[in-house]
Symmetry: C2
Subunit: 382 residues, 2 copies
Amino acid sequence: MPDPLPADSVGLVTPQTYHFDTPLELACGKVLNRYELVVETYGELNAGASNAILICHALSGHHHAAGYHSADERKAGWWDSCIGPGKPIDTRRFFVVSLNNLGGCHGSTGPSSTNPDTGSLYGPDFPVVTVTDWVNSQARLADKLGIECWAAVVGGSLGGMQALQWSLTYPERIRHAAVIASTPRLSAQNIAFNEVARQAITSDPEFHAGRYSDNFTLPRRGLMLARMVGHITYLSDASMGEKFGRELRETAYKFGYDAEFQVESYLRYQGERFSESFDANTYLLMTKALDYFDPAYEFGGDLAKALQGARCEFLVLSFSTDWRFAPERSEELVKAMIAARRKVSYAEIDAPWGHDGFLIPTPRYTDVFTAYMDRVAREVGA
Amino acid sequence: MPDPLPADSVGLVTPQTYHFDTPLELACGKVLNRYELVVETYGELNAGASNAILICHALSGHHHAAGYHSADERKAGWWDSCIGPGKPIDTRRFFVVSLNNLGGCHGSTGPSSTNPDTGSLYGPDFPVVTVTDWVNSQARLADKLGIECWAAVVGGSLGGMQALQWSLTYPERIRHAAVIASTPRLSAQNIAFNEVARQAITSDPEFHAGRYSDNFTLPRRGLMLARMVGHITYLSDASMGEKFGRELRETAYKFGYDAEFQVESYLRYQGERFSESFDANTYLLMTKALDYFDPAYEFGGDLAKALQGARCEFLVLSFSTDWRFAPERSEELVKAMIAARRKVSYAEIDAPWGHDGFLIPTPRYTDVFTAYMDRVAREVGA
């Protein structure tokens, strides 16, 4: 944590764990009888409980979105650029709720938790959860927090899918949905990349059909490969070129298979670090949630029809060099919203960083996001 | 082989093996004292030996570019769409030479060959070869075949790099170079994808540091993953969408980790088939040849300067939806050729298939290619 603390930081935060005892029925047909969600909040809930914002995380995200867990923590939460006093999601006006989703590996009940019914780790027995399951679990969290209606549900990438699903599953409990760098459904190419990641993990001999913990090991190589291929899709060709180009680690070609180009050692490092800190079963589960998401599915593929159930207003943002969920995918969503006569604000942000653009503040991104959230705040009297 | 044989097929072909005993010095500093190249030829060399075309193959290619090896063979050679009587590379006019490159696994000397100096398999001891090394070995093949000067050297992707390198290393021995769906150098993103493939292979416990054959095994899972990720980059997002979309194998989600979407089982099948037929050490070596290729390197990154040594004319073709080697990469090359005052014909072919477009005939592609090769034929009196 920097000293002195910047004025726009939420500062020290302490996660809290919420216990749920009402059985949760999942899309797959299974039931979770008991579960926990780990949560961080920033700002204060107002008297009318009208100023609450839900932050939904992406594939490898978690509840720690802003501030610091301790004075020793070097890096702030993953969306600290957008959450804090004076930032787009202004914690002087909003009460911000950020959780680790069900199935995660950062404190909420997931594959690396103990199954209370058996006393042993869930591991691969943890059920496959969907975006709708997450939204249902988040609605129960809202109940516990005394939040009848979110001022906004906000998320990037897989988080944007949750914001969109909130507008459909609980139309009366959400005033605004901010769907950022997201898509109404994965393309075949998106699914294909996820499948490579899953095959990398499940084919690692250390995976042991998901029971690696029982075998006192981890599928490190598989998870590393999964992260490496994922990481490539988060960046743009141009930003990788800018960052690494064909830069060598030493001065000449070595004609061997050690990392020679800077981009190789960067990717290996990212993959290795991730493989030490993220749970493989959770990774599998998150990629499946992505694959399954398709709100138009029950409506014969007609997204506009699906959106007719929504009542909230929408902010949709895309990033010009994002090729994972390209601007065209956001435009598809916006068109369907317009066809369904929903109110929507849309901007394509010109930024060089690919999909990762939603994590990186640029003047236009910050301006558009701030202006929209300011309107939300005024609307709810915050 | 279809019966009756189509009039535009080269029909039955028989590969031939050429032995070389003059030591070949490689870019890495090592020397190959003896090696073999397996070669196919189509058409007849004319009296002046002026009508010879060299076909260079891409990453997973080989010498079998056209026709059939036997009446039982179901699929024709990999570029049968472009080579044959009446096709762009018209075998009634040209003598076409197609080889498996050094380091390959289809008959030419490579990691799966026996090292004549030791009597055991090369395996991982086979030296890393570069595009320039290939061009040098191809020049010796030309000597053996009595070809002083190629009417044209033609290749797609990694094959296009060889055509380009020919123009620089042997400017007096090549009249035309056709550089198709290629690039003057890999981008950081290209290298990153190659590195994922290499890591997948080398981290497979069955890889045994490249000595899988000595261990009576194969790094099948690694090679499968490498092929899966490669395959995604060969197709366009749109063509994968067109071919598979979000099509399920069964009628509903199964909420598990078996292949559910058609694109998943397609990729697995492609990967598995490849892993049974391709040598892992060769795959590694081919990806390194791609990474290293950078003719501008010795000229301080100035491609136009590198091209000043060339004497031939160029045909450069790119494909609109190719995101592996996008049209911009070909345009970069064309601009450098113009700056170096080389003669160049360029066309971007509008085709939906991504990088694979160079293997798939479309009217405009066929027309442009045919017109150019017709000019080449007339020029050499073929």
